[in-house]
Symmetry: C2
Subunit: 223 residues, 2 copies
């Protein structure tokens, strides 16, 4: 068990006070109280929301905060770890407009409202790699940047097999795929060669499910 200490107010912190959505936030409990919020900009994929918040310990003062959420027809995205028949992990290389770089990363994408995470993973594998999803398991969820984004994408690991041609989304620029052994991927992530946070975080989530280079999903690890 990690050791905890309160930073204000004294006394030991309660054991759990996180990962529970708290709507709308209460400045009296040390949270940012959200007074009002509106959509400032949106396209099909995303929305920018602006909120007026009251700061904890400052009864009168308000401040503007922003957050980016999925668009009106979309839900939290899905990231998939494709495991091939030789227990290797398949990454794609993709040109990303926001960083203007070619990135090696796990296949991922938005999810349309109503689509299950597994169906989203199946679609992304087909579109981006021409791979067929055989079986999938949960690796939990990941909050990409809780300081700016509302989304908490689903992370899945999937057994895959070759299944025909790729069918890329028109707006994607994917040019190659790479198959890593688990130790090769862990090294490339530890060295900073791989920058993508989803891919780096997936190595941590995969640790209990690899015995050396051999993948076997262990039920009960993800709570």
């Amino acid at each position: 068990m990690p050791e905890g200490r309160a930073l204000k107010g004294g006394g030991a912190p309660p054991v759990r006070r996180e990962n529970v959505a708290s709507e709308p936030g209460d400045a009296g409990r040390g949270e940012l109280q959200i007074l009002e919020e509106h959509v400032h900009w949106e396209n099909e994929a995303a929305r920018l929301l602006l909120a007026k918040v009251r700061l904890p310990g400052k009864a009168g003062e308000t401040k503007e905060q922003f957050r980016v959420t999925p668009g009106a027809t979309h839900e939290d995205g899905v990231v998939v770890v494709p495991i091939d028949e030789r227990d290797r992990i398949v990454l794609v290389r993709q040109f990303r407009h926001p960083v203007r770089m070619w990135m090696r990363e796990l296949p991922r994408g938005a999810r349309e409202r109503g689509e299950t995470p597994e169906d989203g993973a199946r679609r992304e594998l087909k579109e981006e790699l021409g791979l067929e999803l055989v079986e999938s398991w949960t690796l939990g969820r990941i909050a990409t940047d809780s300081g700016q984004q509302r989304g908490i994408p689903f992370l899945l690991v999937a057994r895959v097999r070759r299944g025909g041609e790729t069918d890329p989304d028109d707006s994607e620029s994917i040019d190659a795929s790479f198959a890593y052994s688990f130790s090769e991927l862990a090294r490339a992530c530890a060295s900073g060669e791989i920058l993508d946070s989803f891919t780096i975080a997936a190595v941590t989530r995969l640790l209990p499910h690899f015995d050396g280079e051999r993948f076997e999903y262990k039920p009960g690890v993800v709570r």
Copy 2:
């Protein structure tokens, strides 16, 4: 070495074609060509930029893409892994407006223009935890979400010691800290109890620098 294959055009992909900023992007090379871009919204911390891009393989067609960047006076942020005198890793618990949850996470923050990553880490440790930075080392950088954000924060690991009271930023809601052994942190991240992508990714970056529960930075791992 990972095995690579081209997804279009045939032939093996070049060994390296990533992590190099490509300005402005060229649709003829399979990239999204950026035709024009403007600031649509900004506050002191962030900007929303809208761009008109040309899609690869579609000479005439253009599409709007967005990205979130640091504000005019800010640079890519810093995330710090505080290692205490017992080789434990210290997390804070913070209420995050975008997800409206209490999150356990590594101390992190924005960096003002001209502030070094180490100075930013020193400031964040003092403000959020009342800890003094003794020595720090690089763990590379992390692209939080290259599909939406331009930023690629710096990840540092730092030896720390107690150094007086906390001095929280007015807009932060941090109520407690928790000290984890490395294996405790790896388990909490693998189970999905910890959601923050920076913290989960840091475990992968720390793997070569822990021998069991004992921390010792290994030069040469990060390239």
